[in-house]
Symmetry: C2
Amino acid sequence: MKSGRRQPDRKQKVTLTEVAKMSGVSEITVSRVLRNNGPVSTQTREKVLEAVKQTGYVPNRLAGSLASADSNLMGVVIPSLSNIVFPEVLRGIHSALGPTGIQPVVGITDYNMEIEEQLVRSLLAWKPQAMLIVGFDHTDATRQMLRNSGVRVAELMDIDSEAIDIAVGMSHRGAGYDTGRHLLERGYRKFGYVGHDWLSDRRARLRFDGLCDALNRSGLSLVDQELFQGPSSTMAGRQALQALLTRTPGIDAVVFSNDDMAIGGVFHCLAQNIALKDDLAIFGFNGLEIGGALPQPLSTIRSHRFEIGRTAVEKILETPVQHGAPATINTGYEIVVGATA
Amino acid sequence: MKSGRRQPDRKQKVTLTEVAKMSGVSEITVSRVLRNNGPVSTQTREKVLEAVKQTGYVPNRLAGSLASADSNLMGVVIPSLSNIVFPEVLRGIHSALGPTGIQPVVGITDYNMEIEEQLVRSLLAWKPQAMLIVGFDHTDATRQMLRNSGVRVAELMDIDSEAIDIAVGMSHRGAGYDTGRHLLERGYRKFGYVGHDWLSDRRARLRFDGLCDALNRSGLSLVDQELFQGPSSTMAGRQALQALLTRTPGIDAVVFSNDDMAIGGVFHCLAQNIALKDDLAIFGFNGLEIGGALPQPLSTIRSHRFEIGRTAVEKILETPVQHGAPATINTGYEIVVGATA
DNA sequence: CTGTTAGCGCCTTCAA
DNA sequence: TTGAAGGCGCTAACAG
């Protein structure tokens, strides 16, 4: 044989030291080559890279981060993955993280603040560069930890309360209010509401409040409402609308807690031959793609989930440590005038 | 003042040493208390916990994992978050990870094998307990790294090829075949196909192959097909079906690459008053919730995304190191007989 | 039940 | 352009 072909260690025992020995330089030199940091002659660099290839060396970031006190990890805490909304926020986060080499560590709270607290504690233990967390509902302990951590904290989706550090999102109260205005301007007067589990979805509740506010200012109020105990779903929306209309005939507009539910409402109307918009207006929230593909496009409000994730990361990377005053970034929303309202 | 209230350090400089000093014991004792590992007297434990609270100590897992060579991190590599399918796999992963305290570190490849390679390299650097990765399409280097890492590797979704270590999923070829059989048995004979970007979705391609296989065995073949260049979406499905039917009248059954696309097809039929099932059969894939809420439930095949994620994690945690022979776990699928085929 | 002694693998600081 | 020494914060392996 030409040269003793060095088998890559199966046991993953290859460390900087091995690579250094093999290339006849010191550990720190190898380290410099690998991080592209500090001056290294082209010759040395090549020797080192060759050794890296030979050994199949994989750096150990646990050690690296410990030594340099800089982890390249970002904590992300979201309530759920069942709804397409949060994956879209995640997409935004990933898109902004992509170029940086920072990896997200994701936790799911299931809308439970105790779980959230544990999660935050455990994510903070990785000394992340920053923490992204959905919403403003945290235990005091969570808020404490987040403040004391010193790392940047972005609270996502919502801007209707004061942030720990920075909030990125939209006003859900405003969205609810504008929904009401939109429908009032189109002449609807007998309003129904179909929603899902409020205990867990504070933002749906805020939109509801905004809606009621708009109605009140016109001297109106909800005629009836139907709340589904559980997470939003198309089927839940469909059944809830049926229940609502059966119980209270004469309603001419129904606002849904989100598009999933609203699309269920549309399906009910299609199945029952209820003329959308003329017999009954339907209004959602989120602006999902599928709403626009319906036989009659859904009227709704588009939130900018992707942007929320992306913007949060961008802002946070601009300034790596918590400054004093909490800030708020409004990513806005827009009314999508479909054919159902 | 009653007692010198010790301010938690803002700079997060609290380490085990501080806590140890404050509680008058050694570091290792604090460590034992915090990890609930090793015998500690109730007295000592309480002193320590008190000091932890006072200082607001947050453990540093980078250091802990480095010392114990055990990271409590799990690498997860998925192609995309745009389709609800992968978030559901993630949900399954989280649900199985929940009790263990292991945190997932997530990477998105955008269906790009080069990006996947970088991602795997960088995730491996965290010395994860295991790696979960979607599909079988990897570069040689990726496969190498994964093998040499020594950690368990689960390839998800698909079982139509040989695994590096363990594969958890279903046969997409089989699903396509069974789709064909189902439609043939119901008397459909003129088949169309509507699909999305194949270059990126190998599994959709496998289902297509299975479908063609079923048709061929009955002496039939596809009458026409329409491929959308891009990711699947409801609107794409709707428009593609329109194009297909315009170009080739007389088709009596259309198989879609997935439910998103198929639902678009259903919307087209609703808008055009095409009688589903009688004039035209529509068949999807995935078994999304929304399909069941349609005015006429979508006929489709239910894959078990959540179970795939959960099962993979469970299996992997059973045996922490790669054994010799690759294994395969079939999570199966089932035909959902709706009202569109 | 508690403590001592050595690192884990890498990077910072300083010196050459 | 390179290297030596020391330490990041924690935990295994032994003592006692």
